[in-house]
């Protein structure tokens, strides 16, 4: 087994991982950084983010507004001190990215332009046409090449953390091209592996989004926090789930039902006006919009399509020229994948799973309760998204907390002595035996694809937009069954070079753990909040019992143990979450009461 010695290992080469790597390199060029990614970094799923990244920019905007939008949008399940830090650092980080070359869209006088986004009071979403994530990722990746201390382990698949003496001291990874395992020793580890949306059937996520890092930390005793909160994005391609960015609505697109009626006005988001008004109608938050779709479906006012019910995203009134300029990728997706010309016909859309609000429990400095372990980005739960993330906050999160994680991991690495290499190697060899064993095993009868599909279906059935105890219980039971059946999995491919079936099996095991954390957290939260909505007697938010973060603890060969942690409230007491005209009225009342 090959052994590499680093000071900081970063697992995941997406936006957060790259930002962390650069932060370590800048904080001390002498630190040896190992950037481990199962795909070439520019393939990471940050690449698919479309709409933009939030940071206060306009003179009419303020940090307080961004804070209030985020905390209210998260249904008050946010760590408010962390949100405060977050909103105060977004703009600086976005400017840093500008200095590194990100092609932000501009105003005619050359300043960075901002657009409207759902749930945001003032336009503050920085964008690079509708390929913001792509440009941010490539800018970060290409900039990272500047730093000689960053050694990349591209197409290396992380299979375990090595924990010794009470702290994490490295990782074990498969070199995909050869199938050989290596130990990468380090004094601190940053996990930045992204979300877990692929545990659901219809989702916007790339194939790589399998919750690897979450499962790695979870199995080593780190709780996964708020895992029941899974975001459904309201406007996705039926069947594939591919995303039509919220920017479609930020630019003025309408959502209409089968009668051509802008139905969102029936769900407390009105009044319907011809031009977009922030925090109203189509610019409401994602959870509310996806829920409104569900009700329209119940009422029989959706349109039946090949892949289930749809509503129409109507962009025709924006005109071809504006669409080609502001939403070029959306235009091509609709044309090529659906044969729809969005300047001439409405696009059929339906909600699909998009984002995992919860993740690895970390504090405001991205530190997990396991010494030396840090996490940033979608895999982490630093506490800014609460029960529902606002669009364009996650790209900023990558930058702000990617940097924090990098700086803190660097600081920690310098504060501790290198570990006991012999002990680390022994552990790594045990991991190697286990991982190779999965491949060598014979006589299994279960197909990976079958198990994966059953998992994705049961998650959609039980943990969808609206939830019931009965179906959630079925999902929990099904996941238990699938975990048992996984032990009987059969790999056709026993070889070493580029054995992707083997990797899929390891990913599936990660996914099953993460799915369990989601389902058990969901069934235990007996209230409705943000993206977790119940229809079985718990339709209302319950601040008395559930203004608390769920924490799922891993139990080997059993169901996760769920307990709850406190929510940090500093300056925004939980209030009514209202949008549209009702939201404006509520805000005025709140202001009046402060006078």
């Amino acid at each position: 087994m090959e052994i590499y010695k680093a000071d900081v290992v970063i697992v995941g080469g997406g936006g957060a991982g790259l930002r962390a790597a650069i932060a370590v390199a800048e904080s001390d060029p002498a630190l040896r950084i190992a950037l481990v990614s199962k795909v070439y970094p520019m393939r990471s799923h940050t690449v698919a983010a479309e709409g933009g990244s939030a940071g206060v920019k306009k003179t009419t905007d303020s940090l307080e507004y961004h804070f209030n939008d985020t905390v209210g949008g998260g249904d008050w399940l946010c760590e408010q001190d962390v949100v405060e830090y977050f909103v105060a650092h977004c703009t600086e980080e976005l400017t840093q990215l500008e200095h590194w070359g990100c092609p932000w869209s501009r105003t005619p006088d050359g300043h960075v332009n901002v657009r409207a986004f759902g749930g945001m009071k003032i336009e503050r979403t920085w964008f690079a046409a509708d390929k913001t994530g792509f440009h941010m990722l490539h800018t970060l990746f290409q900039t990272s090449i500047k730093y000689p201390s960053i050694k990349r382990f591209d197409e290396h698949f992380c299979v375990d953390l090595v924990v010794d003496n009470g702290r994490v001291q490295g990782v074990v990874a498969i070199e995909i091209a050869s199938g050989e395992l290596s130990l990468i020793e380090a004094r601190s580890v940053v996990i930045a592996t992204g979300g877990a949306g692929r545990v659901f059937r219809e989702n916007t996520n790339g194939g790589v989004v399998t919750g690897d890092g979450m499962a790695l930390a979870y199995r080593h005793g780190v709780p996964l926090r708020d895992m029941e909160f899974v975001q459904y994005h309201p406007t996705c391609m039926p069947g594939t789930g591919l995303l039509f960015t919220e920017a479609c609505r930020g630019e003025g697109g309408f959502l209409v039902n089968k009668d051509g009626y802008r139905y969102l006005q029936d769900y407390g988001l009105g009044p319907a006006e011809p031009t977009p008004r922030n925090k109203a109608m189509e610019l409401g938050p994602r959870d509310r919009l996806s829920q409104a779709f569900w009700y329209e479906q119940q009422k029989g006012r959706t349109i039946e399509g090949l892949h289930g019910s749809v509503v129409h995203l109507d962009l025709r009134h924006l005109g071809e020229e504006k669409l080609r300029e502001r939403l070029p990728q959306i235009y091509e997706l609709a044309e090529q994948f659906m044969g729809v010309d969005p300047a001439r016909a409405p696009i059929p859309v339906r909600p699909a799973v998009h984002y995992t609000m919860g993740g690895i429990l970390v504090d405001g400095l991205c530190a997990a309760p396991l010494a030396g372990l840090y996490a940033a980005g979608e895999c982490s739960s630093v506490g800014i998204h609460g029960a529902n993330r606002l669009g364009s906050n996650s790209l900023s999160e990558l930058l702000v907390f990617g940097k924090v994680a990098g700086v803190e991991a660097a600081r920690f690495a310098k504060s501790v002595a290198p570990g006991n290499s012999a002990s680390l190697l022994r552990q790594a060899q045990a991991v190697e035996q286990r991982i190779l064993g999965l491949k060598k095993k014979t006589g299994g009868t279960e197909r990976i694809a079958t198990l994966r599909k059953e998992m994705a279906q049961t998650m959609e059935d039980g943990c969808g937009i609206y939830r019931l105890a009965e179906t959630m219980q079925k999902t929990c039971d099904k996941l238990d069954e699938l975990k048992a059946r996984f032990r009987n999995v059969n790999l056709e491919d026993k070889s070493s070079v580029w054995n992707t079936e083997w990797l899929l099996a390891i990913e599936l095991e990660y996914q099953l753990d993460v799915a369990q954390a989601m389902a058990y957290s969901a069934i235990n939260r007996r209230e409705s909040r943000g993206a977790h909505q119940r229809l079985d007697g718990f339709e209302l938010r319950d601040d008395v019992n559930f203004l608390a973060h769920s924490q799922a603890h891993y139990v080997a060969d059993g169901a996760p143990r769920i307990d709850y942690g406190p929510v940090k409230i500093t300056k925004s007491q939980p209030g009514t979450r209202a949008y549209g005209a009702a939201g404006e009225k509520a805000e005025q009342e709140r202001k009046a009461s402060h006078v």
Binding site: A177, S178, G179, E180, S495, S496, V497
Partner: protein, 132 residues
């Protein structure tokens, strides 16, 4: 032991594998006609320098049916060469911005072809005029 053994495919006959490459070889091949015709003209120049008799021998040679056939073929080849040359032109130059709008590739190719056609007409006219 590392089990990687990347396989490198042969490039033999690469240009036959894709219609685009076949066309590329044909349009590059038309350059041979350009060269051949330059050779013919150069030969004429040499004959001219050797006096009227030599020049007339060259002129007579041009009137053979073999030579006329070759001229027709060369005309076609040069026409195609001109067309593909201008077709590639937009790919080889910085963007041309007219009135804030980037000029389309076809506009560039079209203007190139129009200029070439105009030049050819002018030249023909000139020769026609001289011959009369």
């Amino acid at each position: 032991m590392n089990k990687r053994r990347p396989y490198v495919r042969s490039m033999d006959g690469w240009w036959r594998k894709n219609p685009f490459f076949v066309e590329y070889m044909i349009h590059e091949g038309t350059a041979l006609f350009v060269a051949a015709y330059a050779g013919i003209l150069l030969n004429g120049l040499v004959h001219l320098s050797q006096g009227e008799a030599a020049w007339n021998v060259w002129l007579l040679g041009l009137k053979s049916s073999w030579y006329i056939g070759f001229h027709v073929l060369t005309l076609i080849a040069l026409g195609y060469h001109t067309y593909t040359w201008f077709k590639i032109m937009p790919r080889t130059m910085p963007p041309v911005v007219v009135g804030g709008q980037r000029l389309s590739a076809w506009a560039i190719t079209g203007s190139g072809l129009a200029v070439a056609a105009a030049a050819m007409a002018a030249l023909l006219g000139l020769v026609w005029g001289m011959a009369r």
